[in-house]
Each structure stands twice: as structure tokens, then as C-alpha cells.
Symmetry: C2
Subunit: 352 residues, 2 copies
DNA sequence: TTGTAAGCGTTATCAG
DNA sequence: CTGATAACGCTTACAA
């Protein structure tokens, strides 16, 4: 059989004919509005399978106003959090037979345009990662009445839509506990941007945890700075360069036994420096990054890092969207510590 | 006026009523099937604007089989090329009022599933970046008859669909010309994976260009290896560590005046090493990366890098999709050299 | 529980 | 060139 013309997709009518029922029954069986699993249901499903039938999304949407489409608006496809979120959301939606409508807006203005365009076509819900870590454009307030909107991250200063915040400070506690459990007594922290509120808050949390776990640090060890490889390298050189030749035990007050970094880039720079000084990771120094970038997997040793809770963000976003609730809800999710080789094993006990 | 209920979107009927014409005329005017710009056309457009009318995508698709949707299937959202492509495609489609349907498949199998699912809903065209740098699953051959498919990158060994290949070797020529123009006489190359065919081809092209521009290199300078920061650091240490204290002129045969890297990560590691040895970039050594990652913008100095021709890939893909051609076409596009500070200015002329 | 039929908003056909 | 109308494939109210 060499059919020269491509077969047109089967419609509900074809399925109904093959199963010897009406199209209404087919619709009900396949959409689950009829739970009995009798002969009719089986016949319908068999016919649908044989014809490789898929419901026509356009027709379904047109009739029922249920679009089975979730919108995602992100500031940039190369933004790490956005890409991770996208990578998590797409398979989840696909698994439930829903579609993803993507919008990219580098500025609040562009995002507003994209959101209007997406919403005009009907969406069951909208997830937005605001540009510039700000908030959703106020012009979109009225949209909230039509479709559920979830804002992920951003300023979250005033809110009407659903809000999901990523808790960095909780992750700091997890990180420090992990290090303490491994027997680490002294830690240095290469923090992020000096002027951001989040960085300052994290910096304070670091010191809180140092006290909580009875650890040691020095003010000269900890500093704000850029999120670059070079910065990590230079800081680690300063931290470990002088003491690298000293014996490797009993030094908890001379140099840190662990280094916590505000970003994987910084951590990788630091690892490079530490290694070049002849020190071993994790035996001499443990290193923790942030962001769980792909690079964290290709370092030697692989880098322990903090991962944005994208799985839970997606789960909770969809739960909120499907909940039908109208009241604003705020959810705070902690980053997840992904433990790899750069913090593996117990520390040498250096108390003489 | 505090209207408590959200206004439902305007339909073509509302526009027709306001413009005092039939819905058929509205449809024709707005879809450009009627080119006259008379009073009727103006009235229709004014009415549409006033009611903030958008064509209902579902209804339009259902009736006309033109979906105004382009599918994009990528191996991963965090994959650099995929993200860059996505970032280029989305705004382009949006500008033409088209939608993007995204599918992520880490394996050829997953990609096939996603493509089937997307195609079942109707697509005007499909762009695929194959997983694992292989080819499109053969099971999709018959799809080619229904919708135009463009494969970007991958093996491209046998093809039926449209093919767009990224030409690395042409970029090597551009890179070497850029360095030669700046007065560089000796270059080292930190190549990629030893076993890949592409790496080997590039390695050969590097040597061809060395001869073409009458430059100098040494076999010990050039090596295959991982695409990591640490690898770049170590290689640069080897290349420049011994000669770093020597005077900075007249050394074209002792150490390379420029370093070409298979990846931005490698280049950043190398820059870190070069800098730590007291050498200056670009004055003492010029560095070129590959991939044009975001990191290339945050190094000091900023990193010259090769950018996949995502803009042209998108333009050509859409052109092929809209062309209506059925014959397989293969297009080869060169990477673009993005010149930044790591190769800026003229080299010191070191011929005594 | 099942079938019949209306209707979602658009585009295409056809008559005027 | 314009307008009336059918048809796209589906969901759902209503009738059987």
C-alpha cells in the first residue's frame, strides 16, 4: 500500500463511527466525564487508539473556553532560573496534556506586552518571572480577575496575584548544617552584590548560622563582590595563598575549612585557585556554590550547589492555578542543597 | 464607572456592528485579503482598535487550518544553543503575530514523542535541534509530508527535511584573520573533545589558517580536552607559566600571543591564569572563546567569542517554512565573531 | 446513560 | 466588492 497522500488526522466523528456510538459519548468517555468502564468505554478507547485520535485543541478551546494552555513569561531564555523553570514546566504540562505558551520580555514593559498578547488568546493560568527582579507591571492588575497569575521571585513588595518567593536564607541554614555535620569548624563566605538587600540579608544569616553551629569565621574572610570566576579565584588566592604551605591540620583559625559562594562561577574560580595552591577539595577545603548551573557538574570534583526549587515552584504554581481560589496566597520555598563531591565525606578532626 | 465584572473580549461580530459592515468584510480587511484602503477599511480598523479586538486564535485555526504556530523542539532549556535560539525565535514570532509551541526532549525518543504531540495540534512549521547532536528520528519522515521541518545542527548525515548547519570551520578563519589583522604572529589552540569529528576538523582548520596567515604555532601548545574552566586554567599555566617573567617583546616563538579556545569556560579559565601570572589581556595575550555565553560579558576584560548565528538561523528557518518548497534544502551558516576587549587594539610589533 | 442538536468565532464559498 | 451562510471539531444542555 503506497498511499501517496498523507492521511488527515482522525476526528471525533471517525471515532464515533468506528465505536458505533455518538460523538457525545466519545467526548464524554475520553474527557473522563463518564467514569464507568463498561463495554462502550472500552470500544471508544479502542477506536481512538486505532485511529490515533487526538482531540482538536482549537475546537475544544473554542467551544469550552478551557484552553489547556499555561503561559510562562520570563525575562530571558538564557537566564538561569528561567531556563531551569522552563525545563521543569514543559514536561509537567506535557504529561497532563497541557500546552505551554512562552513569552520573553527583557523589561517590565516588554513583559506587559507579551502577557497581554498571551492572555488575549486565552490561558488557564500564567506564571511570570518578573524582569529585573522587580514586580509585575501594575497595568496587569485587572488581568488577575480573568486568569490566575503566579509571580515567581521578584520584589513581592505589594501583591494581588499569587506569589512564590525563593527563600535564600533557609538555604544558608541548610548549607551550614551540612558543613557542620561534616565536621567543619571554620567557614568563609564570598557574598554577592554589596548593595542588594538580599545579599545583606544572606550575609547576616551567614553570621547567625556561624554562631548557631558554634563555628568560626573572620571578618577579613567574608566579602561582597561580583559573581565571576575571576573574583572567586582572587578571593581564594587571598584566603589560602599565605597558609597553603602550612601543615594541613589544626588550622581552623588560620584559614577556612569551607568556602560558601554566592554563585557557581565564584565557586569554580575558587576551586581553581585552591587546587593550584596544592590544596585538595574536599579534604582540605569544602566548597559550596549557588545556582546549580551545568558547570557544577563538570568541575572536578563536582560542585555542591544550591538549586532553585523549580520542581516545587512548578507544582505549587499549577496547584494555585487549578485551585480556583481568588484570594492572594504567598508561598515561600527554600532552595535545595544538591550535595556533590566538593563537600563529600567527613572533615579531618583537627582538634589536637 | 466601577464595572465589577471583567469585560469579555470583543469578537468579530462586535467589530462588524460598530463598523456597520458584515463580519466577512471585517475578516477580509483585517487579514489583508482586501488591499483597498477606502472608508470601509478605515472604519473596520478603527472599530477593531476601539474594541481592542484580537482575532480568536482557536476559531481561526479551527476554520482555516492555518495555525500561526511554529514548533520548536530542543534537547534542553539549559542547553546554550537552544536557549539562544529560543531567545531569538520568540520575539521574531511575536512580532509577526505568530505563536511558539515549545517541546523539550532530552533524547531522540522523547523528542519524537514531543514532535508527535505538537504536530497533532497543527503547526505551520517545526524547528528541531536534535538531541545528542544526532539526527531527527527516522520515524518522523512521514511528518515531513504534512509540515515543513527544519533541523538545526546535528549530524546531518542523511536528510529529507530542511537542514541548517552551523559552520565552525569558517569561524576559525574569521577568528584567525581577526588576530592576524591585529598583528598577532603566534597562536595556541585549546581544542575540544579529542574523539569528536568536529573537533578534529577544527583542529585541522586551525593549522590551515596558521599557514594561510603566515603565523606560528607549536604542537605542544595545542591540545584536545574538556570544556571546563579548570582545563583552561591548567593549559594556560603550562603555556605561560615558564615564560611569564621574560620580557614581553620578541617572544612570538616562545609563547603564543593569542589563545583560541573551544569554549568560553576554557577561555575564562585561561584568562584567570594569564592574569594571575602578571600578564595583561589583550596586550600580552589575546584570548578568544566560543559560544558567547553570558559569562563572556562579565569577565574583565570582556571576552571575544564566537556566537552561533541564531539570528540567521531563525530568519532562514522561517523563510524555508514559509517558502512552500518541498525539496530538501541545506544551508550552512558561519558562526559570528563577537569582538570584545580581550582581543581589542593592535598587537605590539615585536619584530626587532 | 445515551443521542440530538446548538453554538463557540472564524474563514471560505457563493450569490448578488 | 460585499453580505449571507455553511462549515471547521468539539462540548454541553436538553430530550429521549
Amino acid at each position: 500500500m503506497t498511499s501517496t497522500q498523507p492521511t488527515p488526522p482522525a476526528s471525533i466523528t471517525n471515532v464515533a463511527a468506528l465505536a458505533n456510538v455518538s460523538i457525545a459519548t466519545v467526548s464524554r468517555v475520553l474527557s473522563g466525564k463518564r467514569d464507568k468502564d463498561d463495554d462502550i468505554a472500552r470500544r471508544v478507547r479502542a477506536a481512538a487508539a486505532e485511529l490515533n485520535y487526538c482531540v482538536n485543541h482549537a475546537a475544544s478551546t473554542l467551544r469550552s473556553d478551557v484552553t489547556n494552555t499555561i503561559g510562562l513569561v520570563i525575562p530571558s531564555a538564557t537566564n538561569r532560573l528561567s531556563a531551569q523553570l522552563l525545563g521543569e514546566l514543559e514536561p509537567t504540562l506535557c504529561a497532563y496534556g497541557r500546552r505551554l505558551a512562552l513569552g520573553i520580555g527583557h523589561t517590565a514593559q516588554e513583559q506587559a506586552t507579551r502577557i497581554e498578547a498571551l492572555a488575549a488568546q486565552g490561558l488557564d493560568g500564567l506564571i511570570v518571572v518578573p524582569a529585573n527582579a522587580s514586580d509585575l507591571p501594575a497595568s496587569l492588575e485587572r488581568l488577575t480577575e480573568r486568569i490566575p497569575i503566579v509571580q515567581v521571585g521578584g520584589q513581592q513588595s505589594s501583591y494581588r496575584s499569587f506569589m512564590i518567593a525563593i527563600d535564600d536564607t533557609a538555604a544558608m541554614e541548610t548549607t551550614m548544617r551540612h558543613l557542620a555535620d561534616a565536621g567543619v569548624h571554620s567557614v568563609a563566605y564570598l557574598a554577592g552584590d554589596r548593595i542588594s538587600f538580599d545579599s545583606a540579608e544572606l550575609f547576616a544569616m551567614f553570621h547567625t548560622q556561624i554562631r548557631a553551629f558554634d563555628m568560626f569565621t573572620k571578618s577579613s574572610w567574608n566579602q561582597f563582590g561580583e559573581r565571576t570566576v575571576q573574583r572567586g579565584f582572587h578571593c581564594a588566592m587571598q584566603l589560602f595563598g599565605i597558609t597553603a604551605d602550612l601543615p594541613k591540620r589544626g588550622l581552623a583559625h588560620m584559614r577556612p575549612q569551607a568556602l560558601v559562594c554566592c554563585d557557581d562561577s565564584v565557586a569554580i574560580g575558587a576551586m581553581t585557585a585552591i587546587e593550584s595552591l596544592g590544596l585538595t577539595i574536599p579534604d582540605d577545603v569544602r566548597v559550596v556554590g549557588d545556582g546549580d548551573s551545568l558547570m557544577a557538574l563538570s568541575t572536578t570534583p563536582t560542585l555542591t550547589s544550591l538549586r532553585p526549587p523549580v520542581h516545587r515552584i512548578v507544582t505549587e504554581s499549577l496547584r494555585l492555578i487549578d485551585s480556583g481560589t481568588i484570594d492572594p496566597v504567598r508561598i515561600v520555598l527554600p532552595k535545595q542543597l544538591v550535595i556533590r563531591d566538593s563537600t563529600a565525606g567527613d572533615a579531618v578532626h583537627d582538634q589536637a
